[in-house]
Symmetry: D2
């Protein structure tokens, strides 16, 4: 952190600030120029707020952060080594990370009934998905809209897991439900709207399953990494970052703006694996294949794609769901790109 003093700052004020910094356990270093004095601060500055610092003296012109505020999530924390999140599933460990093939997560927005979720699981497994998504608790803009089948849906996910061997990922909306979810899920999802629900972050950080952290609709990359930091600081190093579309000025055609540029940006900042959700990211099934292709070409480690056996009858998010047939075709299209970039798993001989 660097404190830039105003022209003409009195020496006593500079000394006073330096002392105050020492009192906070920091080591101040002073540069005296012809026009300006700058104080560099060395030490634990991650928790300091530059705006807050500025209040210390009316002679401070600006306080500039030089270091990143995140630590455990930073690339330096692992000396540049990418994290490999291993997810235990009945079919064995699924690895998400830069040194592994792209992992596809697929399934419906919400779990509707046993037949539907088991059938969808079988479909997506046959096409190459490794994890099944499915909402038991659904964040909905309207209190009058379908809110998910809750606890009973968790049972259905367990059934689909057993029937197919796929790992399960499902969203937690309320810390109260966390224990029940952790019993069934192999990955716990924190949704975009809860990305800065700090109480929830601490609690998912204190349980053992990997966490799938969706980016908030208007979260900066720094805020997103700080949300991951909350989880990691609470003890859980297995965080997967998932971009799912941000909110911009244009929402006429695509529901959100899928920000694929996070892929190279995050690669330069963090060791955590990166997933892309083109279904929520665009909000329209017809835009999903193109964005899924782009995500793999750009270097994503995982894709999350909504698949529903009958999108027109879906209880939620039908417009962005692919049919199992379209998903199967997409997986073949993706394999071409995936192989081109050396990130595609050879298909196993399927018995379906």
């Amino acid at each position: 952190m660097i404190i830039v003093m105003k022209v003409g700052s009195p020496q006593e004020e500079i000394d006073r600030i330096s002392e105050e910094m020492c009192g906070r356990g920091l080591t101040p270093e002073k540069i005296v120029g012809k026009h300006k004095v700058v104080i560099g601060l060395v030490g634990e500055t991650a928790a300091l707020d530059p705006l807050q610092m500025q209040e210390i003296s009316p002679w401070i012109e600006q306080v500039l952060r030089v270091e990143q505020p995140f630590k455990r999530a930073s690339l330096e924390f692992r000396h540049g080594q990418p994290t490999d999140v291993a997810i235990e599933t009945p079919d064995g460990a699924v690895h998400i990370g830069q040194n592994h093939p792209v992992v596809t997560i697929a399934g419906p927005c919400s779990v509707e009934n046993e037949e539907m979720i088991v059938a969808t699981a079988q479909y997506v497994k046959a096409s190459g998905a490794k994890l099944l998504r499915g909402g038991a608790y659904k964040p909905r803009t309207s209190p009058y809209a379908f809110q998910g089948h809750g606890e009973s849906a968790l049972g259905l996910l367990a059934a689909a897991r057993e029937a197919t061997g796929l790992g399960i990922i499902t969203e937690v909306m309320d810390a109260e439900d966390l224990d029940k979810i952790v019993e069934v899920a192999d990955v716990v999802q924190v949704g975009a709207r809860n990305m800065q629900n700090f109480s929830l972050l601490k609690k998912v950080g204190a349980q053992p399953k990997p966490v799938f952290l969706k980016r908030g609709m208007s979260a900066t990359i720094e805020e997103w990494l700080m949300a991951a930091e909350y989880i990691m600081a609470a003890g859980n190093p297995n965080v997967i970052l998932c971009e799912r579309g941000i909110r911009t000025f244009d929402r006429q055609y695509a529901r959100n703006t899928l920000d694929l540029s996070v892929i190279p940006v995050l690669r330069s900042l963090t060791h955590l694996p990166i997933a892309i959700d083109p279904s929520h990211g665009t909000g329209r099934a017809e835009y999903v294949p193109s964005m899924a292709m782009a995500a793999i070409a750009a270097g994503a480690d995982s894709l999350m794609i909504e698949v529903h056996p009958n999108p027109a009858k879906a209880l939620s998010d039908g417009p962005q769901s692919l049919t199992p047939q379209r998903f199967d075709r997409l997986m073949q299209e993706l394999s071409v790109i995936g192989r081109a970039v050396g990130r595609w798993q050879p298909p196993v001989v399927a018995l379906t």
Copy 2:
């Protein structure tokens, strides 16, 4: 809701859609033009998602919502009558609403210690504030930053309440803390980051104290009213809407963009009272007075202003806090505007 069919839609498809709508309890009305067919839907459409509806048939060109998705929060729900939220305080009921003087809420970002919170309460009361704000649980971007003193701070707020007679407003971040908060607080605040924490909204809707609902950083007005609708649908009609700055492309000087235009917009949509928080809205103490003046001139029912006895030493949000002296002067400036628009309470003879 209106369904616009594509040119050349087959009659059977139009009939099939109409039947499906009947099956959903809606009454379809068909208009047959030379070029296009449009189906109007009458009935309970609030829970329907236009994008979802579009999936029903590939012949649907567009589905347009004509009605608002919120009901209890709508102006029509109270036949145009503004809601008057009555807050019980030791000094008697404080009313927030269009037919009452502007109510000023003031206090520090976070409760630091007893002396500080009691002194601040006395100061702001003497200047004309009716409610004391003060955070016990603080949402902070960094897990390493001060997180609030939690439960012990609630006790200090109770002490300040008793010492001054001011009502208390404080934020709930975790439903687990709600009971303890409700014991002390006269108004429960839901912060911007939790505006779409639907589990929390349902729970604050199920307790009896009025709810101060801050707008999410990138929440549309419709989403904000739907968040209020969650609280109201859970049984609590006493919701105060508080604008606290939205996130836009320019964050260099002001931390957020305070959206004062919500005042006339909300007036045309809802009966709920409107508060403005210029402290978080701008993030800088020096911008607060100008925006507070504007808020009153625009018709706000309440103001929330951060005041700290020593902003340079504040544990959080110092840069946007006024000193008690500056706050006192601001209240005099505000009274000029408040009186000009007929919304200012005559001062009581203070004994402090």
Copy 3:
């Protein structure tokens, strides 16, 4: 400007950078700390791009701008003295600036015919407006929409000027038309879409009439001041900054988000006068009065308000235009706020 070097930067590289800076006419000052080296740059840094500077060496961690990139527009340039823009009109000089009463500019979006523009001018003058707005050349999103009557409309503005004594403000869209416009107009307007049409800025900077510079829809405050700087650097110091609504994520109810917080922000950065256009800023006539009140309370120097004798028949922007009757009532409402803040001109005895 401050160059922060990476930990472990070789001495030769630091020396090389310092020399390169000297070669650019800057004076580098080096601070050597235990961990880091920082190079402060003194001299003409306004034209330097921090990102560009970063390319000079791979050992540079960050380049931070400490000074503002604008000079003539900065508060320091006039030692804190506000600019007073004097506009010559048939009725005498109209002054826009912090030490003068609020100046109201009113009139239709576009000039439709002589009767209409003269009648509107008479109406708004009678209500207290000092300048008449009216578009001859109209920027329209669609090439098929009414584009303004062009040169012939300039003649009609001249007639309205003569008939009423009001000064005229009208927009230039094409430098080709500038001479003709300057003959008639007392103030030349640069529209939001042309705020970074740098060729046009240079040309309006080279003519003598004051310039009314609307903020671009997504222009940062810094970019806006740099646009003013273009005009001032070309020789014209008389620039009025006009906020007219920015583009944000929510456009459902108000067409733009009127950013009133620019008032205190600009006051701390520049000496130029500040105008607010609540008509374009909200896009709806019913929201205009509330925002006009707020603008005056917040400290605006001027208001620009659309008035049309028959909004329903307007060739452009009808929905945001007030009728002359509503405008007259608004002026009375505004006078209450204007007098409360000591910025309202006593009405002259009108002869109309």
Copy 4:
């Protein structure tokens, strides 16, 4: 366009509106439901503004646009056939469009001197670029920054064209310079800041060279297509749409947010070819390769990439420029993706 009347609208008002619509040359169609009346409008509605229409009567609840406001740019205008823009270059015609290999445009931000531009042209040609970019007139935020070498730079571009056989693309900022630019350039670029400089759009529409239309920083897709419509309505059907990053709330790491989702969205709306500029789109050379890969996988028809022989010494936009070596490697990486999607031209035997 559909007019939704309020409940209880009087019959005379409905008739009056219908008549007014007839007077405007539209054919109104009335639907009378139990609760509501809706008027459908058939005819030339492209130039109508829904908000404007709403002013016609206080009984109108909402006016909804069903048709797209663009015509020539719409997919329907060419019955779904993609436009193939043929660019005449010394080396023969270069085709940009959906049925052709991806065309790479490369070169420096600005033309600095003859040696530099000719050398860069030779480099990028050897790596597979078909068109050379290079700015003669540069839009710069600051009036004090390098503004391009202007007319003399056009001569240097002509020299590079002759030396290499590459086609030339350069930006027009001022209509005054258009004739000179058209003499040299094979494609005329309209920059992001001028996307709604309607006077300029009309003029580039009236000249014969293809137009490269960059998306405005906060332009909606509809506004962008309407800008293309201006050019096409003026007579020039050869428009290439170029996405170059939009402005969002997060600008800390990437300068803009490259919106790759425009690729599938535009494909569903228009026949015009789509180019992606990852250099301006991200603002950082290190993010360019990943986004270029993604653009091709998503289906882009053309890429525009900044290449500079010595980015650290570039007069503008150095931080986002690749070196010729990095560009050459990128072209090899891109060829892998390009071949995977069947959009890559086999390399010719180079003699350089």
